[in-house]
């Protein structure tokens, strides 16, 4: 099953499953099997922003006045987010594009990944402003053991799927021995790896970002690092949309609206998917512990942050049909919502209030009164 960049098999994209059907040939959107992905693309593109639009110059002064423990919180979070977006800026493309079978989902994956690259560029924008030479921060991302622990978990499901897809593309189905290790490449196994991978990405988008979002907005509540906070709000808005897409994929499988075999797999691997989620929750709590090991900051400490992780996790797990496992039913950080409301995001300096506008939009509504004083 080698991949072709233009599959000459005539196929009907309306009857293809989302993944592991015939690879996409014509990028057409006039007919869609799952139109939700086209709607997500439109929404995502309407959110377009550039890091350079946000002025972060005041943050340098604020940063210099932070305590050592606050600096640790701020920089550690930026490192972690840099890792997350480094992974997300490439992995959906590498893992999902070779196996995707409907054009609207293919384009969504590309759009999604592209926006993650904007996020990555924005971290450089923030760090370049704070440090004359940000190399030390970037270089620590691959050395820091706390970050490494998370990186392993985040990338392993992607890597596994990518490797098996490569084996399948070059050897087809069957037992394949590479470097003395035998791999059983079957379509069922590939689909299982896909299912686990999407669940791991879902957990990433659902909760992994939120510990650092909370810290960023806690600084903003004290009128500190506001440029950074503006950028993170834009990122949070995008991540919410990415999360919806993975939730959509998982729900479409669970409800049998797509590949019937994926419905079976969703039932079969329910506990494993749950375990992925719970592990992500645990890791985020550990991360909160690491952040505050040198002391807390005004408005936020390890305990409240862990409660927030549980609150968010409940919400996210219900969205994919799991019972909420934690007792934390009320929001321990109510002010977070103010920063997550999409209409409060400022996209351009002159647009302080409203964001849901489209560039170059034309108002085509003409009422009779518009022509009231027109005479022949």
């Amino acid at each position: 099953m080698s991949y072709s960049t233009f599959n000459k098999t005539q196929s009907n994209p309306l009857t293809e499953p989302m993944f592991f059907g015939n690879s996409v040939n014509v990028a057409r959107y006039d007919q869609q099997k799952h139109s939700i992905f086209e709607k997500l693309i439109e929404k995502q593109i309407s959110f377009f922003w550039r890091p350079e639009e946000v002025d972060v110059s005041r943050d340098r002064v604020d940063f210099a006045n932070l305590t050592a423990s606050e600096k640790h919180v701020f920089i550690s979070n930026l490192k972690y987010q840099t890792l997350l977006d480094s992974v997300q800026g490439r992995s959906p493309n590498i893992a999902f594009l070779p196996i995707v079978s409907i054009p609207e989902l293919e384009t969504w994956v590309e759009t999604w990944s592209f926006f993650e690259t904007i996020h990555s560029r924005s971290y450089t924008h923030i760090l370049r402003n704070l440090f004359t030479d940000p190399s030390e921060v970037f270089e620590d991302i691959v050395i820091n053991t706390e970050i490494q622990k998370r990186a392993t978990d985040i990338s392993s499901y992607y890597d596994d799927l990518i490797f098996y897809t490569q084996l399948w593309q070059t050897h087809g189905e069957g037992e394949i021995t590479i470097d003395g290790e035998t791999h059983n490449v079957t379509m069922r196994n590939l689909k299982k790896k896909l299912f686990l991978c999407v669940n791991s990405v879902n957990a990433l988008e659902a909760i992994r970002f939120y510990v650092s979002f909370a810290c960023t907005f806690a600084f903003a509540e004290r009128d500190l690092m506001e440029g950074n906070s503006k950028i993170i709000r834009l990122i949070a808005r995008d991540e919410n949309l990415h999360l919806v897409s993975t939730q959509q994929i998982i729900n479409l499988w669970q409800y049998g609206h797509d590949d019937p075999e994926m419905k079976e797999i969703a039932d079969e691997l329910q506990d494993e998917a749950l375990a992925i989620f719970m592990k992500a929750v645990e890791q985020e709590k550990e991360w909160a512990h690491y952040l505050f090991r040198n002391g807390s900051m005004i408005g936020l400490n390890e305990e409240i942050l862990c409660q927030y992780v549980e609150y968010i996790a409940n919400m996210r797990m219900e969205a994919i049909g799991y019972d909420s496992p934690f007792k934390q039913r009320s929001n321990p950080l109510p002010w977070m919502n103010k920063y997550l409301v999409s209409d409060n995001v400022q996209v351009a300096p002159q647009e302080a209030e409203i964001t849901s506008y489209l560039v170059g939009q034309i108002d085509s509504e003409v009422s009779a009164s518009d022509l009231g004083d027109f005479e022949l």
Binding site: K39, V244, S342, D343
Partner: protein, 86 residues
């Protein structure tokens, strides 16, 4: 035109809501019930609410997956008397 409906929330609050002026989320906020939301725009799904009885109409099409028996409070209005868990 006002469209007034009764909404029962979490089995304890009874609200009389004018569906022409407020979404389900706004109605709950006006009654000072603790609400859960993020985007308020129908795409994040944080305001997911259990719809036990009744019908809602969406004023903005939700992008989040709405599972059967649920509604997204930020972008829907009551279309009948409702019983919900939020």
């Amino acid at each position: 035109m006002s469209k007034s409906y009764k909404i029962k929330v979490n089995g304890q609050h009874e609200l009389a809501v004018d569906a022409s002026t407020s979404t389900l989320l706004e109605a709950m906020e006006a009654a000072e019930i603790e609400t859960h939301y993020h985007c308020r725009n129908g795409f994040c799904g944080a305001c997911r609410t259990q719809l036990i009885q009744g019908e809602v109409t969406y004023i903005n099409e939700p992008l989040a997956f709405v599972r059967p028996g649920e509604c997204l409070a930020c972008c829907c209005i009551a279309a009948s008397d409702l019983e919900i868990n939020h």
